[in-house]
Amino acid sequence: MLTRLKTQVPLFSMNSYTKLREKLKLSGLSFASTHSHVIRLGRHSRHNSKMAVCIAVIAKENYPLFIRSVPIQNELKFHYTVHTSLDVVEEKISAVGKAMADQRELYLGLLYPTEDYKVYGYVTNSKVKFVIVVDSSNTSLRDNEIRSMFRKLHNSFTDVMCNPFYNPGDTIQSKAFDSIVSAMMVQAS
């Protein structure tokens, strides 16, 4: 009897956590389905080094909430790249049309390639944009992996938003989010 009780405790807390997430989903913060995420996990371990060179989170009003790039390279250039990519993001969002906005896929795919980088985009239902910049020479990265990176990012971002001490609209300073992002960035070599 006692053991049963013990096992029930974490179950309950899990439930409440899922409920919170459900609520968030309803309130417009979409959430990547968790089961596909779990399936991906096995594959992640193969690519132990993530390949993004720059990851940015951009608010609905198009100012950066978070932007981080590989430190050794020209940070400014990434900022310019990410900023310019917003053009394409906006174009892609508006192309979907208002009516279909609910069923729209969050992943926007390759926004545009440059000679050196590929820029991928992802937009949450609350119009927060995620942008991942990948080195062009890094061809081993498949679309699926980019997707899963975005999903992971979104999950982590949702956790940040769940934080009652986080003031929506502020720049993100969460350590957990930071570590997730760091894990996705290519190790400076």
Partner: protein, 1230 residues
Amino acid sequence: YTSLAQQLPKEPMEWRRSYGRAPKMIHLEANFVQFKEELLPKDGNRALLTFPFLHIYWTDCCDTEMYKASVKDDMLRWQSTLRLHGSVDWLIVVVESEAKKKNKTNILPRTSIVDKIRNDFCNKQSDRCVVLSDPLKESSRSQDSWNSFLTKLRTLLLMSFTKNLGRFEDDMRTLREKRTEPGWSFCDYFMVQEELAFVFEMLQQFEDALVQYDELDALFTQYVLNFGAGDGANWLGSFCAPVKRWSGLLLRRPIDMEKRELIQRGEANLLDLRSYLFSRQCTLLIFLQRPWEVTQRALELLHNCVQELRLLEVSVVQGALDCWVFLSCLEVLHRIEGCCDRAQLEANCSHTVGLWTYATEKLKSLGYLCGLVAEKGPTSEDLNRTVDLLAGLGEERPETVNSLQSPYKKLNEALSSVEAFEKHYLELSQAAMEMYRAIGRMRSSRLIGKSLAEFYMKKGDPERAEGFLDDSLRSYVAEGWSLQVTHTRKQMAECQKLLQQTEDYLQTSALLAGDANLTEEERKHFYQVILTFASQEQKDWHPDQTVALSMAAFAQLRQMQFSPPGAVVHVGAALQLELRVRCLMPVAVQVEQLAATLHFSLEQGGARGRAGGTQRRTGQGPQGQGDGVVLFPQGSPLAGAGMGASLPPALELYEMQDRSPSDSSLNSTGVVCKNMHLLLRRHDSSASLDTPTAGALPAAVAVDDGAQMLRARDITLQPGDNSILFTAPTGEPGSYTLRQLCGSVGRVQFVQSHIYPVVQYEVYSQEPQLTIEPLSDNLLAGIPQKVKFTIATGHYSVKKGDALQLSNTDSMPILHSSCCSRALSVQSSEKVTSISLPPTPPYHTLEFQLEVLCHIPPTPFKPDIERLTNGEVRHRPKNHSQADSGMIHIDQKVSIDCPWSIYSTLISLTFYVPFKAKHSILSAGKRKYIQVCLQNVSDTNFHLVDPVLTERQPTIPVELLSFNAKTQQTVCSQQSVFCLWEMRWVKHLPLCLQCAFSASFAPVSASDAHTAFKPYRYEFQLDRTLYSLKAEILPSSGDQHCRTGALCGLEVSITRQAEPSETEGEEEESTEIEGLRTTKLMYEVVDNSSNWAVCGKSTGVVSMPVAASATHRVQMEVMPLFAGHLPFPNIKVFKYLPHSAVPAIQPDTDSCLENDTMSLLDKGLDDQGDTASIRSRGSIHSVGSGEQQRGLPMPRLEPFSPGQVFYWSQGRQVLVLPVTDDHVMEVNVT
């Protein structure tokens, strides 16, 4: 054969294919060649294009001998040859002609030859032999046979083709599987698969052809990647060869044989292969009507090639790749333009714009490389490089030699001179920007604009750069991208410096000096720029001309704190303002002066004194929670100024309290949002671009010189938070609002034009005030009590010798009290009490106490009218009956002359009369007693001594015998004391007896000796009975008793009891009618308990003769409504004063007689006593007090004094029987 070759593709055939590929309708085309043995494919030669698919043996033999002799052998030989080469696709065509038949008739039936052939060769496949009859004739028979032949031919051809194609594909796959073997060469394989593609292309199967190329592309890409991963293949060696030619893509030819040969020979380098592959893909895509895919693929290809060259570590001359990319971009664009019309191009610029941009970038980098951008023009080294690059381009292709706009020519021209380069570069940039703008990619457009600006800067043309920089800067600031802002601002600063826009340059420098994204050195540099300017000697400048810069770059306001925190002070008081400023400069700044302009507004009216100020304080909102602290909203440091625009403004909630003006009780309270219009505005994500930004300076930061200023001089602002103390001027009353903050450093002024949220403080000026309050709750009349004088000096300073002058009144003398004369001296003269005040500074409070006494007026009758020396009625006690406490109070006005005012101050003190007296006459037989009831209505206990009753007219011989205790009595609060006298008279009773009751009292608590007993007087009047009233109810005739519902008679008889006396004559209105003195009375029958219904007239006026025992009878009818013993209805009698008579009794303005009488009508006679006595007194004492103001002369009623009318029937009852035949029994349960 030609007709055959033409006829063959006319009809489509269904082509069934292996591997489940969908069947397609295709048109076959064939070449016919003479059979030669050497044409037959050898083993291993797999050239599909030249492969003989079907072998046809044509014969027109119709002779059996001839057939047997030669044709058969020939055929056998042919067959064996075919078999030798493994070809099973053959057909024998027997051509019959009528002409031949005619020649050799009847030798053999014609069928027999065909049969023979079929027998000999077509063992199982009878369809391999076809008879074609007379193809040259126009007969229907020949037509039929021709058609069937064609069908057969097509079928067989296709069959063979499919078979061979399948075999070819299998071989190709086998070849591909061998790719890991060492000797494998991609080029060979390429040729093989390309042949397949060619075949598909020939069959118009472009889709399939494209697939072949895509497969090749993917395979190659994979190899390159593997190479990058360390898994190199030998054959890749040739592709790693240094690039020597970079002539760009060539898309005009369907097949670039030149390159193809290179590939075939295995000599192609990576660019050659890629170019060739892409040109083929491009051709096919255009065949497929997919030009936009070309552009997309082209961009990918170009990026990819650059990457691959890098990956393979192919050595390329610097700039060569740029040339190649540039040429290729333009070539692709040209190709697309060639196959689309203008409208299509414009509609699809989102596809082409990428290429344009890429070309622009490349041209730019080429320009930088070849020194075409530098101001001085290219150096010799640059020229050498240019020559090298141009050499690599090779000769111009023959296709484009004649066109003026060929990419080759463009590049050649652009690299040849600085001017041409500029022209081409601008052209490209403009094109790209316009396209971006057309498709709404403003950011991309601006980015190009920015690089164009960089170009202009390099060219030393800052004017043209400025616009682009400004545009970009605005958008970055608006969207809050700080790094870009910093970078662009730096460029802007450079630009403005060159343009000599001093003010803008300084502003930008200020912004940069405060920019956290820059290094310390850079910030210091920009700071130094400002300092240098600030300290510069002013030569050409007007001496007091300064440069105003926005404060936002220099420092941020953090908070402001008032001390005292209320921010409401009186005139001249000290108010300090502490301003917290975050200085953004990298080093400490010496600020000569920091000044805040004040906007001064006079408050409306002086009535808004303190109260107004406090109300304002509650409305300070969330930022100043009553502690005088105003916090300034801060944008996040990362986003800087731009954030403020993009973030929604914070709610500004204000507490709102609605107080009623009269008693300041709370009516309603609530919260008001003041900036609702901002919050409820719809937020557009795009609108943020339009918001005014700090990047561009506000048009004019005007320094307005207000008269009032907060100043702080010579401050050193350290980087980070600083605290500055201001002393606010409080010279004049009003409200001061901080408008502008201005810090001056030399010639530079940093100006913050608006301080938001609004910071203001108030200075008030208070008039001196004097209040007098009782020390206890209520002041009681009759005993000395202390009152407190409070003087709030306000702006007046009390000087030595200033004194309060109190006008003395007789009814309220001011007593000298010993306890409070420490600082002030009280001097009383006859008329005036003067209190000299000690010197007091403004805004202080003086308090002292005085003892006063208010004489109790001899209530209720005939109070004296006090007149002061100046004739003005200074003291006018007003008596009201208080409903709640039953206490009569007197408002005593005190007139005080204050030193600060020429006017006298009237202050009213309210005294309460502690007692209430009532009298009554008690009769026992012939004896009469007067009882006086003295009720203590105050909260204090009193001692009472010496109750005395005197007769005020000593001429009337009445003796009053006291029955009262001689000792001191105690009257507790709310208790009564009764005193009794027997009245004895000698002759006859006077009509009216004026009595006065007096007693002395003292409060129980103050029992010390010197507290004298104070007198209390009560005067009253006893009247003799003037009229007696008798009522009789008679049942209707024949009945013994009254019955409900039956009319009864009511007889009222009024009898005059006494002769009129002298005094009475004055009061009573009498008229002489026919020599008989009469007086008019009005009677009224009222039934308050609704027992009776009065039928007919219930009121009437009778004339009574003024003589003793004159009687008047009045008959009327009443009807009882209930059964039982019913009390008589009330009968009232009034004096009736006709309107014609000059009203002898004029009411005091205070007591409205008419109202009184009307109310009396409603009241029973019993409760007339107290109130009526007071009222009649009021009416009496005001005799001769002026003209009556009432307009209408109305007949008036006046009640009699108590005791003047005697009611015989008071309390009488009459028995009323119920109606006997009533069926309904009414039962009243009460």
